[in-house]
């Protein structure tokens, strides 16, 4: 009888408890070793570094202008961004981004097509006006910003909850038309509630961005006058508004991004992908859609209030269908259902008109100078009465589209083009670029 020599059983070394790394592994961004790492908002180190640097850059923008630090100092950087009109553009961008994030939650995450975003923005704006504006011929309670700004989000959210039952009953394209009706009904309301809105003729002014404890004379912090911070920073009103909107936009962006990984956010996406299947799995459709409307309207209200206070004086007709369409354009161009895409889309849609205008002016001056450029650009730019061209800078006088009209045409064409060629929007383009470099030099 032979015995087979068993190899001596070697004791496995005491296995060390797997090193649980909270953070991502350097150099292997796709390797996730824990559920937390997989669910992290910013899973890779590179992302965190880039986002931190980008945020620092955003904070630094107002200080690029000469004379903002001390007597004549400034941070080195592209100082055109700190010029008054570009800074105003960036404030608008931040406000639009907030509104677009709201629409993205409703349409992108929960899949409910809404053309009524302008309506909720108007509700937010007029809530701000009623609670924040000083008493006068129009309604105003003169309460401080920490009352009216949250209310400007909460009251549209409540209204969203009230409207949700209708929205839950109708589906798909019917919902699009119902929300379209909301904009028209809203426009009628704003025109007729002239004790709140000031009517079509004069409109009304909105509360200034000033921080007070209550209704005392001197505000703690005002964004309507220049001041010096910490003895060295010379802040213009726009710069202060910019920083304020930036803080709000970053906070609300993080909230929106975080929403995607919560139970509510997953419920939204399941309703979007297949409502019947979602209900089978126990997602309460009514509740989920109501919450989606509420959150989206909250964002819309905040954006509306900020937009109105930033513009300063608006007429009821400003809250029209075109505004809703602008937001649809933002989320479609950016990439529907993604927070990054929404931000990209806002930047694109807000900065585009400015670029179009600048390019038109440039083209016009080139045509006036003559030469080769004039020959090329002449069919595109109209310089005055009688000169045919695609676009002109003096609306109503020269033939051709005005710059505003050209912008509208470009919006429309971009909506069509993105839906046909790149349904994921700018975010999709970015993904493709990223994937290309990930596999480089291979093509897959």
């Amino acid at each position: 009888m032979t015995t087979v020599d068993k190899p001596p059983r070697t004791e496995l070394p005491e296995s060390k408890p797997a090193r649980r790394r909270k953070g991502p592994m350097l150099g292997r961004p796709l390797l996730r070793t824990s559920y937390e790492a997989d669910m992290a908002l910013f899973p890779s180190v590179t992302q965190r570094v880039v986002i931190t640097l980008f945020l620092l850059f955003l904070v630094a923008i107002p200080f690029f202008a000469p004379g903002t630090i001390g007597e004549s100092g400034s941070l080195p950087g592209p100082n055109f961004l700190a010029s008054s009109d570009w800074l105003r553009l960036l404030v608008t961008l931040g406000i639009y981004a907030i509104g677009a994030l709201g629409l993205n939650i409703l349409t992108g995450l929960a899949g409910q097509v809404s053309l009524g975003h302008a309506f909720f923005m108007a509700v937010g704006a007029y809530t701000a006006a009623v609670f924040g504006s000083p008493p006068g011929p129009l309604w105003g309670l003169g309460l401080p910003i920490w009352v009216w700004l949250p209310l400007a989000g909460i009251i549209p959210a409540i209204l969203g909850v009230l409207i949700a039952p209708t929205a839950v009953r109708v589906r798909g394209l019917y919902l699009a038309i119902v929300t379209l009706g909301l904009v028209f009904i809203g426009e009628y309301l704003w025109r007729n509630l002239d004790f709140i809105t000031g009517g079509s003729q004069s409109g009304r002014s909105f509360p200034a961005l000033e921080f007070r404890f209550w209704q005392e004379e001197e505000p703690l912090l005002t964004m309507t006058e220049s001041s010096t911070w910490f003895g060295v920073l010379n802040m213009s009103p726009t710069a202060k508004t910019y920083l304020f909107v930036l803080v709000l936009a970053v906070l609300l962006t993080l909230l929106a991004k975080n929403l995607q990984r919560t139970r509510t956010g997953r419920a939204f996406m399941s309703i979007r992908d297949r409502d019947v299947a979602a209900e089978v799995m126990g997602v309460d459709e009514f509740r989920t859609k109501t919450v989606a409307f509420a959150i989206s309207s909250f964002y819309a209200g905040i954006a509306g209030a900020l937009l109105a206070t930033f513009i300063g004086r608006t007429i009821p007709e400003q809250w029209n269908l075109l505004l809703s369409v602008e937001f649809i354009a933002i989320i479609l161009i950016g990439g529907i259902g993604t927070v990054t895409g929404t931000l990209l889309g806002s930047a694109f849609v807000i900065i585009l008109p400015r670029l179009v205008e600048d390019l038109t002016r440039l083209g016009e001056s080139l045509v006036r100078e003559g030469g080769v450029w004039a020959t090329i650009l002449d069919p595109l730019v109209s310089t005055g009465t009688g000169d045919w061209g695609l676009v002109n800078t003096s609306a109503g006088v020269a033939p051709g589209l005005s710059v505003d009209q050209l912008n509208l045409v470009i919006y429309g064409a971009l909506i069509i083009a993105f839906l046909i060629f790149e349904p994921l929007g700018l975010y999709g383009i970015w993904l493709r670029i990223r994937n290309y470099w990930k596999g480089w030099p291979f093509t897959y």
Partner: protein, 323 residues
């Protein structure tokens, strides 16, 4: 904003005003709604660009009939009404062609995509088309130069408005024609099959592209017809202007009321909305509590009320879903 244009002719009774408002508004809404419905019924596309197509059609008619004088310039001896009618036909033929071309460029690539995505494509199309058309129209209304103008016929003490009567006739003809098309012709069956399932229709040998093309052609044609009536006497005698494209948004309640896929529903919805708006214009305009422009939102309020009770409109086919 959509406003019911109050028809105020000196000497007419409130009942007469009401009737004219009801019939003229109703037929225009019905024509617009039928245009929507044919596109939706054949292709499942909700066409937001319908109003822009209506304005485009009316603008083409105005240009052909007055400025370009096509084809009237080649037949100087023909009577005015004949030249005008030929201009209208030529312009509407061009509008049909434009509708088909737009479908080919913009809608065809979206074949088989989500309904929502296609609807938003038409929204983009609406923005482009409306902006360009309005730029062509300019700030002033462009008259259509029709042979009747603001004339009325008086027969046995009754005042008849030619365009309102013609609109009723056209609406009836279109309604009968569309019903015949959908239920009595091979093309109509192909359209219904396409709407039901594009892939399955294709597998049965139906040329889905052709169905799309034809339905958009008919849709654009009907939009043009509605645009023309909208720019004639009992509505806007001044002609087509920048608000014409916007008017079609008021026809959305009509199609929703009738149901997105019902031709009869479109006509019933159209006339119901027309009646509601005429009544609101006549009786509610004086109530200061309701404020300005209440008649303009009556269609939407009616639509909301109907949708709460019947989420698929009065005649729309109900989607069965169970959990």
């Amino acid at each position: 904003m959509i406003e019911a244009v109050v028809f105020a002719q000196a000497g007419t009774t409130p009942a007469g005003r009401l009737l004219v408002d009801f019939l003229s508004l109703g037929s225009i809404y019905a024509l617009l709604a039928m245009g929507f419905v044919i596109i939706f019924k054949a292709t499942q596309v909700l066409n937001f660009a319908h109003g822009a197509l209506a304005a485009l059609g009316a603008f083409l008619v105005a240009s052909f009939a007055t400025i370009l004088q096509v084809p009237g310039r080649w037949m100087p001896d023909a009577p005015h009404w004949l030249r005008w009618s030929l201009s209208v036909l030529a312009a509407l033929a061009l509008a049909t062609l434009i509708g088909m071309v737009l479908e080919r460029i913009v809608i065809r690539p979206m074949l088989g995509e989500e309904l929502f995505a296609v609807a938003i494509v038409t929204l983009g199309l609406d923005i482009v088309l409306r902006t360009v058309t309005n730029d062509f129209i300019g700030t002033q209304a462009r008259p259509l130069g029709d042979p009747f103008g603001t004339n009325v016929w008086t027969i046995e003490g009754f005042t008849l408005i030619p365009w309102t009567i013609i609109a009723q006739v056209v609406t009836t003809v279109v309604l009968v024609g569309l019903i015949a098309l959908f239920f009595r012709s091979r093309l109509g069956i192909a359209m219904r099959a396409t709407a039901f399932d594009q892939e399955a229709a294709r597998a049965q040998g139906i040329d889905v592209g052709r169905v799309f093309s034809i339905s958009w052609g008919i849709g654009a044609f009907l939009a043009g017809v509605a645009g023309v009536f909208l720019s004639l006497f009992p509505r806007r005698a001044a002609g087509v202007d920048q608000s014409t494209a916007f008017f079609a948004f008021a026809a959305f309640p009509a199609i929703i009321l009738g149901g997105l896929d019902s031709v009869v529903g479109a006509v019933v919805g159209g006339f119901a909305i027309g009646l509601a708006q005429a009544l609101a214009t006549e009786f509610l305009a004086g109530i200061s509590f309701l404020g300005v422009g209440f008649a303009g939102i009556v269609p939407y309020l009616l639509m909301l009320a109907v949708l709460l009770i019947r989420p698929y409109g009065l005649f729309g086919s109900e989607e069965i879903r169970r959990v």
